[in-house]
């Protein structure tokens, strides 16, 4: 029998698709959705026989039907707890993928800056959105996202403009009467020499919600994007995200991504370094516990000489959690004098936790500096003893050392508010962590 790389999607996707097909804002979007859904059905759902999904059995999370989300109400206090970016920050807020206009605030940017809900763009300027979409994309979840394309964020910064106020995209998911799905799309275009500090939060407040996120980022020459991403899943939430990033000459991407909680999370990032002098920094930490599963899959393509990329991911795995770190660096023949580094260090708190670390280098240029390294270890006994000898009980000592391990990444957040939220959530999830205070 031939191993199946994809399997047929659950029939509920079709019935749910048909239910919303007539709701498209215009004919162009309707056509795009139809075409995308046909593509999704033709591709199916990836199995673990398909190399990019080898260690993440996504089919298991999709066995039940997901109805398109209906965006229930949420009190403003519940939202405010996840605000970040300081008092001057601008913000788009989404509940189960749909924009909450009355709570969002995205005005007062410099002239030419566009920050809009994607739903507005789909209604008013569908061709501009469709222009950037790839009709031949063969990824199952990207096609599915296109089929249900409804909302998200559209961000454009014109050449030479430095946006000094942080912009937060806050995605909250909440329980609905039945399992729900949403398919947000984020589009970020930074013109030549422009800059933006983008904060992206995905907060699961419980309930069976599937978020299928697609992100497209284009950084023009010398554009700078600081991208702080925090993903705190809730029980039963599934987050499948793919980000495509194109960087132009001397562009700089500085990303920090912390993920904890959630039933299953997949963070897929592909960065294409299309010019020289680019700096692409991807820092991440992931902290699954219980039966949680977190997959970070990264592909970096160096396509031009003299650029630099650095991936540094740290995992903390508790209970029976599973995690994947698959990082590939591809250096084309043109990309001489590339510096590309990748590190993945994991702290295993139990014997039952499991990490699949899969570093991969594919190098065609002959003058490059590339390295990768992966380690997995448990907590150091002598360090625990040292902390205990100073009065911290074993649980607090464990929490402190565990926090310190992940903290090396969390400290790299540019935004202090987000940093504190990440710190608190990490500590609260560690046995003994509640007794420690990092927030003074």
């Amino acid at each position: 029998m031939v191993a199946q790389r994809h399997t047929e999607a659950d029939a509920s996707f079709r019935s749910n698709f048909e239910a919303i097909a007539a709701n498209a804002p215009n004919a162009a979007i309707q056509a795009w959705r139809q075409e995308s859904f046909a593509r999704f059905e033709a591709i199916g759902i990836p199995t673990t026989r398909f190399e990019p999904w080898k260690y993440t059995n996504i089919g298991r999370s999709l066995r039940q039907p997901f109805r398109p989300a209906r965006a229930p109400q949420l009190g403003s206090d519940a939202m405010r707890a996840h605000f970040a970016g300081g008092p001057s920050a601008r913000r788009l807020i989404f509940i189960n993928g749909q924009i909450q206009s009355s709570f969002s605030h995205a005005h007062g940017f410099p002239e030419g800056v566009v920050v809009k809900p994607l739903s507005t763009m789909l209604r008013d300027a569908p061709d501009r959105v469709l222009d950037g979409l790839d009709a031949d994309d063969e990824r199952s979840f990207t096609a599915l996202n296109g089929a249900f394309l409804t909302d998200g964020a559209w961000i454009e910064v014109p050449a030479g403009v430095n946006v000094t106020t942080p912009l937060q995209l806050l995605f909250l998911t909440v329980a609905e009467p039945a399992a729900a799905m949403c398919h947000p799309r984020i589009v970020v275009k930074l013109g030549e020499g422009s800059s933006l500090h983008l904060i992206e939060s995905h907060i699961g407040l419980g309930g069976q919600v599937l978020t299928n996120l697609v992100t497209q980022v284009e950084l023009g020459e010398q554009a700078v994007l600081d991208h702080d991403r925090l993903q705190l899943g809730g029980d039963g939430t599934t987050l499948v995200g793919r980000a495509d990033v194109d960087l132009g000459r001397k562009a700089r991407l500085n990303q920090v991504l912390a993920t904890s909680g959630g039933g299953l999370t997949r963070n897929e990032t592909e960065a294409r370094l299309n010019g020289s002098g680019i700096e692409c920094i991807l820092n991440g930490t992931f902290l699954p516990r219980g039966n949680e599963h977190i997959d970070n899959t990264i592909r970096i393509e160096h396509r031009a000489p003299d650029s630099h990329s650095d991936q540094f991911y740290k995992g903390v795995l508790d209970d029976k959690a599973r995690a994947v770190f698959a990082g590939k660096i591809l250096v084309t023949r043109e990309a001489q004098r590339t510096n590309a580094y990748q590190r993945n260090n994991n702290l295993m708190l139990t014997d039952d936790a499991e990490i699949d670390a899969k570093p991969e280098l594919e190098i065609y240029a002959d003058d490059v500096k590339c390295s990768h390294g992966a380690t997995s270890s448990d907590l150091d006994e002598i360090s625990l003893f040292y902390l205990q000898s100073r009065g911290l009980d074993r649980r607090r000592a464990t929490a402190m050392l565990t926090y310190a391990f992940a903290g090396e990444i969390i400290d790299r957040y540019r935004d202090d508010g987000l940093k504190k939220q990440a710190q608190r959530s990490v500590l609260d999830r560690l046995p003994g962590g509640k007794a420690l205070d990092f927030l003074e």
Partner: protein
Amino acid sequence: MLEIKNVHAEVGGKEILKGITLAIKPGEIHAMMGPNGSGKSTLAYVLAGRDGYDVTSGEIVFDGKNLLEMETEERAAAGFFLAMQYPIEIPGVANNYFLRQALNALREARGQEKASAAEFMKTLREQAKVVGVKPELLKRDVNTGFSGGEKKRNEILQMAMLEPRFCVLDETDSGLDIDALKTVADGVNGLRGPERSFLVITHYQRLLDYIVPDHVHVLADGKIQRSGGKELALELEKGGYERLLGKPEAELRVSA
């Protein structure tokens, strides 16, 4: 205050302490001297309760309580402190943060009020000055990237901050130049008091010029071979362990 009664202990199945008996009263300073491999550090770890340092017989009574039944952190809460020979680096945890969490955990266990941030920082800066810990080291991660001397001073700073009643200094003098040694000794002497006792473990007599002990013991092959006043240290300095104990060096180490 502390009574060690005929303690035998093993590490990895090998007997290292072969019957130690020692009583230390409140306010006293005892020096435990001995050559390398005589069991000095094992005694320190047995007192602190490190895993893998197993007492096979004998007992240790601290303030009327059975020390050996207490967890390491309970010993700390009871007032026991070990300044380690090789202080541990804790990357990712700031020195001042660590000390405050430790102090608050101890105060909580002792039923005392927690220190306010302001009160804590004030005391910390004052004490750091006394023991010669540079202010910038307070913000750095615990012992991470510290020189050998800085680590030792940091141990004494912790000792000063955590308000112990019984302190063990395990080879605190090793790796210190004479100036650092004096500063550390000044710090220790400043902590002396009628209710606080010290066990100073050292290979060399030098430290005892600055921290003057009430009693000196000489440990070899897992047993206390001689005990006396501070003059015993001087005698040792002149003749060395071999002459003092009348045995070749090989026999001073813990034999299998």
